[in-house]
Amino acid sequence: MENKVNYDPSFAEEVFRNVDAGDEIKMCMNCGVCAGSCPLREHMDYPPRQIFALIRAGKREEVLGSQSIMLCTSCYTCAVKCPRSIPVIDVMHGLAHYALKQGYVPRKDTAAFGGEFWKQVYRLGRIDEKDLPRRVFFSGGLIEGVRAMLNFMDIGIKLMLHRRMKLLPERKIKGIQSLRKMLDKAERLGKGGAIA
């Protein structure tokens, strides 16, 4: 029996028990509508359906080490279309968070973006549309930063013309202290988002 595959349910059980919304994947019927509609599918090593299938197949390393779970942007396209009403985004974020706790690290640029995003939300209560990319661009060094800035110059100018990006720095939201209390508490509960 050379072609025999032994399915190991232990990783699936680990996911059901420990990952937020992890047991929702029991509903998946492998239709592929999430994988077919994800705008980031070309950048994912495994689209959501394949992640769910890998969990069932017991492929712990492939799942927790995958970039897909770190890439989900919460656009909700998959969750809206899912015929089994699986909150795909919650599962993906749950997996990312669990992977981080288990010591898996996202790709360098993903980590840089996530880290900066989190810091800005904590500091301002909002995202500064020019400060965030600038910090991410220059996280890899001066030359890389300048190159990235030049690449995105056209988009930047258009954003300015459409008043989607202000020249002046963004100010803190009202009640930033209350927001920080919430974020602190979320972090204490171990639900501080994918990349804390």
């Binding site: 019927m29 492998n30 239709c31 592929g32 509508v33 999430c34 994988a35 077919g36 509609s37 599918r41 070309e42 689209p47 359906r49 394949q50 809206v80 279309k81 899912c82 015929p83 089994r84 009403s85």
Partner: protein, 422 residues
């Protein structure tokens, strides 16, 4: 109006499709008085709109013709078209039913000479062909219609067009003064065979039905394949009337989907396999792709699936299509999804797309009714604490024609038992 004398020994059948006709005839041939009411101007229901049955690929007309003859020969059955149940009160053995009849504006003197349609210039969307073509506003619903009688669309009654029809009729068959009428019945038991509607494909917004002309539904495909259909039996894409070189069938279009119909209708897989054979017979060059989650061809029907699988021009691709966009220049359709067998992304171009939509049970809103009960999906359920009303056919469970006939026979037996045990 109709002088309908019935007693508590009579049976009412609601719906004159295949299930309703079967239940009515089975009960009548067992010696019971039956009254059948049908909302359409003709009997036969959805079956009359089919081109062929699966798996035998025979036309439904011969079966319908036999049933209509049984009906004509049996004085125990009385039927009313354009009639709906307005209210039901009472209980098993003692129901009072009010039936509402819409005016046809054509009486029994009609000989189907067709002079009124010749004289009439106004046209309406043809409901028999799901609006794919136009028909004169004075029309015969279809050429096998039973009863064989014309009908005037209410939109021309009282207008110049209506006057032209009236003047053209040599037999005094047109009666523009007809009004909606009602009559009362007393019956002992009821068979509920109200039938189904195809799911509204426009609700699945990412498939673009209604927006993209070359996205049609399976029921429309069935009319297109029929010789008495809008294209005379030729399969043409709606945008430019050209013969498609490749066609995609999308299974579970709205079915097995909690955002639409959570259940499997159980017939759409076979319907698409059947329609694939229509296309392949007529167009040896046409490629077919069937996109599916699972093919549900059960029992003996699996043989049909295996037969279609053997055709090298038919590809079965395991994927629920996630999005359709239209190429505006050509009207072609671009399908996106994930091939779940290989994990590859799908980006494919087709001339025409057929959505395999499921069945939605008809719900009749009654002014007053005893507990007509439904399950969570809207299908009729036989309430054991409320005997006397029995479901039959697709209003009770989504199924094919052969099973509907069996179910209707069972429904007739339940109704007979209900009367006989008192």
């Amino acid at each position: 109006m109709a002088d309908v004398q019935t007693t508590s020994q009579a049976i009412l059948v609601v719906g004159g499709g295949m299930s309703g006709i079967t239940a009515a005839l089975e009960a009548a041939e067992a010696g019971y008085d039956v009254v059948l009411v049908e909302r359409n101007p003709y009997l036969g229901g959805r079956v009359t709109q089919l081109y062929q049955y699966f798996p035998k690929l025979c036309p439904p007309n011969c079966g319908l013709e036999i049933n209509f003859r049984r009906m004509r020969q049996n004085p125990k059955v009385r039927f009313f078209t354009m009639a709906e149940v307005a209210s039901i009160s009472g209980r098993e053995g003692d129901y009072d039913v009010t039936v509402k009849m819409a005016p046809r504006y054509v009486n029994e003197k009609c000989t189907c000479c067709g002079k009124c349609a010749e004289a009439c210039e106004a046209e309406i969307d043809n409901p028999f062909n799901y609006g794919m073509d136009k028909i004169k506003a004075a029309y015969l619903p279809h050429e096998f219609a039973f009863p064989m009688r014309y009908i005037l669309d209410p939109s021309i009654v009282g207008t110049d067009q209506g006057k032209k029809c009236l003047d053209a009729c040599e037999y005094g068959a047109i009666d523009p003064d007809m009004k909606e009428t009602t009559f009362d019945l007393k019956v002992g038991a009821i068979v509920w065979a109200a039938g189904w509607n195809p799911y509204d494909a426009a609700k699945i917004d990412y498939y673009g039905f209604g927006e993209y002309k070359n996205v049609i539904t399976n029921v429309m495909m069935e009319r297109m394949a029929a010789p008495n259909g809008p294209t005379g039996g030729r399969i043409l894409r709606p945008s430019d009337k050209k013969e498609p070189k490749n066609i995609a069938f999308i299974q579970c279009a709205g079915s097995r989907d909690e955002n639409h119909l959570p259940y499997c209708s159980g017939i759409c897989c076979l319907a698409s396999l059947k329609q694939t054979t229509y296309v392949r017979e007529r167009k040896p060059d046409c490629d077919i792709a069937i996109f599916f989650i699972d093919i549900r061809a059960l029992d003996r029907l699996e043989d049909f699936y295996v037969k279609v699988q053997a055709d090298p021009k038919v590809a079965f691709i395991k994927s629920k299509i996630a999005n359709i966009t239209e190429d505006e220049g050509t009207g072609n359709l671009i399908l996106e999804g994930e091939n779940t067998r290989t994990g590859e992304q799908i980006l494919m171009n087709f001339d025409m797309v057929v959505l395999a939509t499921g069945m939605v049970p008809n719900r009749i809103e009654l002014d007053a009714a005893p507990d007509v009960t439904h399950d969570e999906y809207g299908f009729f359920t036989n309430n054991p604490e409320q005997p006397g009303i029995y479901g039959a056919g697709c209003v009770r469970t989504p199924t094919d024609v052969a099973s509907s006939v069996q179910d209707a026979t069972a429904g007739a037996l339940k109704a007979i038992q209900s009367i006989a045990r008192r």
